[in-house]
């Protein structure tokens, strides 16, 4: 059973990486974006949505058939979910596709170029509004997804376009055996940087690193105000000489082997690292912290919306949802699934749902017109 454990561990976490790394990420998206643009820009939806069968009851859809194309990070789903759903609907296949996952522009282009590219997809709150603006999203009829009741309201409000599936907080961690102080705020993090110069790690995700810096400065983590964005940029440039690296792969590794003593990272990444190095201490800073929230949304040109709703409902069954969480190790949104979730995840203070922490969380949101300013500022930080 040791092997199984190892497999789970290695399957934990994904995406973000994909989202961030230029070459390593949704290249297809870029091309597709261009393409879509070439073929006449604005997502001209051919209105392929079938009229939702009025006779089907929400909980037990008529036998579905055909194929569902799902844009998802590889295997960001319960180990047995596809198989279990297949048992219910033997004539329906779900094909997972990862080309462009996580990159909104990639997705938008792909759909504009080929409206039938996929039926539904996984996307974070920070990107969905762009799809909405491009007229790509289908409205979800929640009457057909009754299991949505299992998701607490605060998550539904944060992610109203579809079903929220998971979230991740971005705080920081430090080696309590190598750091004398006990930092609890972002200000502490920034103040300690010069002292532990060369042993500080930053996360290579602009929404989170800039967002958390903005929070430290007392601003909104998603602000569109240029002066505030530049303030965050300057604060980051100030500590940059002390930063060892700005990375998004194996972020916790330097903390594990002692090469770094303090670093900004995702909660589940730290939870995993703690298994290897118990001296790693997680901090959800007092001023607040950024988090991403993501979920499934549907494409309005899909002709399989019935099946999409059915699968969404299926995913939100506590057993299936628990399978998903256990496979991926992510922080989860469904309290009612807790008894079915592995103790390492449900009992982990880093990952568990804690009101007090949650109140301090700011979800990454779409930057709108300010996107250019944000990218510019981040590039300036990287360029310094």
């Amino acid at each position: 059973m040791d092997y199984l454990k190892r497999r789970e561990v290695s399957q934990v976490l994904t995406r973000r990486e994909l989202f961030r790394r230029g070459a390593e990420v949704g290249v297809g998206g870029g091309a597709l974006a261009f393409l879509a643009a070439a073929c006449g820009g604005g997502g001209d939806t051919a209105g392929g949505t079938q009229a939702t069968g009025s006779g089907t009851s929400a909980g037990a859809p008529a036998a579905l058939s055909g194929r569902l194309d799902f844009l998802n990070y590889p295997n960001w789903i319960g180990e047995g979910e596809y198989a279990a759903f297949k048992k219910l609907h033997p004539d329906l296949t779900i094909k997972e596709d990862s080309s462009g996952a996580g990159s909104t522009s990639a997705i938008a282009t792909r759909i504009q170029a080929d409206p039938n590219a996929f039926d539904f997809l996984l996307l974070g709150k920070a990107g969905v509004p762009q799809l909405e603006a491009s007229d790509i999203l289908a409205d979800i009829d929640f009457a057909k997804v009754p299991n949505i009741k299992n998701i607490p309201d605060q998550f539904r409000e944060a992610y109203p376009w579809g079903i929220p599936t998971d979230y991740g907080k971005i705080g920081f961690a430090y080696r309590k055996d190598l750091v004398n102080e006990r930092p609890t705020t972002w200000k502490d993090f920034f103040d300690l940087a010069p002292k532990y110069s060369g042993k500080v790690i930053l996360l290579d995700v602009l929404e989170d690193t800039m967002g958390n810096t903005l929070i430290m400065l007392g601003h909104d983590g998603n602000t569109k105000v240029e002066s505030e964005i530049n303030e965050a940029r300057d604060a980051l440039i100030d500590i940059k000489p002390h930063v060892q690296a700005i990375i998004a792969t194996d972020v916790a590794k330097p903390l594990i082997n002692g090469g770094a003593v303090i670093g900004m990272d995702w909660d589940f990444d730290i939870a995993l690292a703690q298994q290897k190095q118990s001296n790693i201490e997680w901090v959800a800073p007092q001023e607040g912290l950024m988090a991403y929230i993501e979920g499934w949304v549907a494409v309005n040109t899909s002709d399989q919306l019935e099946a999409v709703h059915a699968f969404m409902n299926f995913h939100l069954q506590p057993e299936q949802y628990a399978d998903f969480v256990n496979t991926t190790g992510t922080a989860y949104l469904m309290p009612s699934a807790t008894p079915l979730i592995k103790k390492e995840i449900s009992k982990n203070p880093v990952l568990a749902f804690d009101e007090a922490t949650f109140d301090r969380v700011t979800f990454e949101a779409f930057k709108g017109e300010a996107l250019g300013t944000w990218t510019q500022a981040w590039n300036q930080v990287k360029s310094a």
């Binding site: 790394r21 230029g22 070459a23 390593e24 990420v25 949704g26 290249v27 998206g29 870029g30 974006a33 261009f34 879509a36 643009a37 070439a38 820009g41 604005g42 997502g43 990159s103 909104t104 522009s105 990639a106 938008a108 282009t109 504009q112 762009q130 603006a133 491009s134 060369g198 290579d204 602009l206 940059k240 930063v243 060892q244 690296a245 700005i246 990375i247 998004a248 792969t249 194996d250 590794k253 330097p254 082997n257 002692g258 090469g259 709108g368 017109e369 996107l371 250019g372 990218t375 510019q376 590039n379 300036q380 990287k382 360029s383």
Partner: protein, 274 residues
């Protein structure tokens, strides 16, 4: 006509798409709705003249020069050595150089991260041998980037060099020595000039793509430097401002073309001499 295949392929799969790209660079894209507006605005090009981007271009050029230089210095002796072997050994050695590159780029580069990390293999080896004490501190520094780049581009330099060197009849430098020239002189005045086409080819094959390199600096440099490639990539993948990305690409292309034209002029002169 012999030139048929080349002409067709270049035209169809290179020039035409490129044309499309250039047209794009004069357009605009709304980053919120991803709508593209065709037009003939030079706004994108104007935007490029910003210290942020210019700096990244300069940085990339410097990086490329360094990488090319290092590759040349290390690659030349290697190519020379190989060219002096028997045909069978040559093939073997060339193959030996290529084999590492059949493991995927990503896996290879992260192996370097592993090797160079404090607590990594290199550090432990150094400590065992007694040459290293304290932290190695190579990873995430320009040195690490240099190592990574040379590693990635070495074969690109070695191959053209080998091809040119292999054809040189050893009788020629030998004759020079017989005529009284010292070893270095024979090398400098006979072998090197004869190998020049290979040197030029190698420098171009390494130098040009190296200016667009940004993944190695990102991984081995700890993401702390902004290369020209980073900018283009972020335009395409994060922001979605393709026209601007296209403009960036076209600008660099123009710059590189100028550099090449100048180098060809000097090569032509060299060819005449040889």
């Amino acid at each position: 006509m012999l030139i048929g295949p080349t002409a067709a392929w270049t035209l169809l799969f290179f020039l035409v798409p490129l044309g499309i790209m250039v047209v794009y660079s004069f357009g605009q894209r709304d980053v919120v709705t991803f709508k593209l507006y065709w037009g003939w605005t030079v706004q994108n090009y104007v935007d490029i003249v910003d210290s942020l981007y210019l700096n990244s271009i300069v940085r990339s050029l410097l990086l490329s020069l360094t990488a090319t230089g290092l590759c040349l210095v290390i690659g030349f002796p290697v190519a020379y050595y190989i060219s002096r072997q028997s045909r069978r050994r040559q093939n073997l050695l060339l193959l030996a150089i290529m084999v590492p590159f059949w493991t995927s780029f990503l896996v290879r580069t992260y192996a370097w991260v592993n090797l160079l990390a404090n607590q990594g293999l290199l550090q432990r080896l150094g400590e065992k041998l007694g040459v290293v004490s304290g932290a190695l501190d190579i990873l995430y520094t320009p040195t690490a980037i240099g190592i990574g780049l040379v590693y990635s581009y070495l074969p690109l330099m070695v191959f053209p060099l080998y091809v040119a060197l292999e054809r040189i009849d050893p009788a020629l430098p030998e004759a020079a020595r017989d005529l009284g020239a010292r070893r270095h002189r024979a090398f400098l005045r006979v072998t090197l000039p004869l190998a020049m086409p290979g040197v030029i080819a190698g420098c171009i094959i390494v130098g040009i793509p190296a200016t667009g390199e940004y993944v190695v600096p990102a991984i081995l440099g700890g993401g702390k430097t902004l290369m020209y490639g980073n900018v283009v990539a972020s335009q395409f993948f994060e922001v979605g401002n393709y026209p601007f990305g296209a403009a960036l690409a076209v600008s660099l292309m123009t710059l590189m073309t100028v550099v090449l034209l100048l180098s060809r002029r000097s090569t032509a002169r060299l060819e005449e001499v040889v």
